[in-house]
């Protein structure tokens, strides 16, 4: 039964976006709430029924404390990291493309009859340059990731 209490409190704390000192205080108070209720003849089940699910209690505490609900903050962190990775990959692809298609010798031809060689650059098609697309997407993803990570950090307090 003690495990139910420990798991319940741990689940609540996981979802709270508050400083560690506040988490410690809430953990202490929830332990006290359980102990006091048991001393007054309530069962673990009755206490948890009154508290509501760990999810509901965490949400209620978050609302009352004026902090974001834990899942929103985790979502911001995951999305921020994911977008940062995607953005970095796109920028890396852009850099690889732009260095390999710099001005390679194979793309140069020499037109005879003139004093010096005339460089002719053979470019892909006249469509959109894929390297620019990767660069643009990369920059957008990185900007968005920074925004999500700022939201994550600001929600911590």
């Amino acid at each position: 039964m003690k495990d139910i209490k420990e798991k319940y409190i741990s689940d609540v704390l996981k979802m709270l976006s508050v400083p560690r000192s506040k988490k410690r205080e809430i953990a202490r108070d929830l332990h006290e709430a359980f102990t006091s209720a048991l001393e007054h003849g309530e069962t673990y089940e009755q206490v948890i029924e009154r508290f509501g699910s760990s999810d509901a209690l965490a949400k209620s505490l978050s609302v009352e404390l004026g902090v974001p609900y834990g899942k929103q903050r985790t979502f911001c962190l995951i999305l921020g990291i994911l977008l940062l990775i995607i953005g970095s990959v796109f920028v890396a692809i852009y850099m690889i493309i732009s260095t390999t298609t710099g001005l390679p010798n194979s793309n140069l031809g020499i037109i005879g009859g003139s004093d010096g060689p005339t460089q002719i650059l053979v470019s892909p098609s006249d469509g959109i340059d894929s390297s620019i697309v990767f660069l643009s997407l990369g920059i957008i993803a990185i900007i968005l990731s920074i925004a999500f990570l700022i939201v994550y950090i600001r929600k911590r307090r």
Binding site: I26, D29, E32, A33, R50, L61, L65
Partner: protein, 116 residues
Amino acid sequence: MDNKYIGQFKKGSLEMVLLHIISSGETYGYEILTKLNKRSGHVLGLAREGTIYPILYRLEKSGFIVSRVASSLSSSKKYYSITHSGQELLNQLLSFWEEYKKCIDDLISDGSKGGT
């Protein structure tokens, strides 16, 4: 009967009610909850820890109440007591509550009489 408008009424008065309970003597979380539910549960609805504790944290942070943890072998309890500024706030809130009640009662009774 319970809806968001009634919920707002309840929420707005909880600080005052908790301060009042604490002002009557040093007390701890479960005791506050039990007193609250016993005396007002039929109107305010059953209070839960998820609502009460954050209000206690806010009141303590603002210096209106103070707490001390008393540990025994089997458990530890956080006892809350009201501070001087908390008592002043409570007096202000109670005084406002009296005015508020009278004002609203007058408005409603005027309305029901068809007054302007």
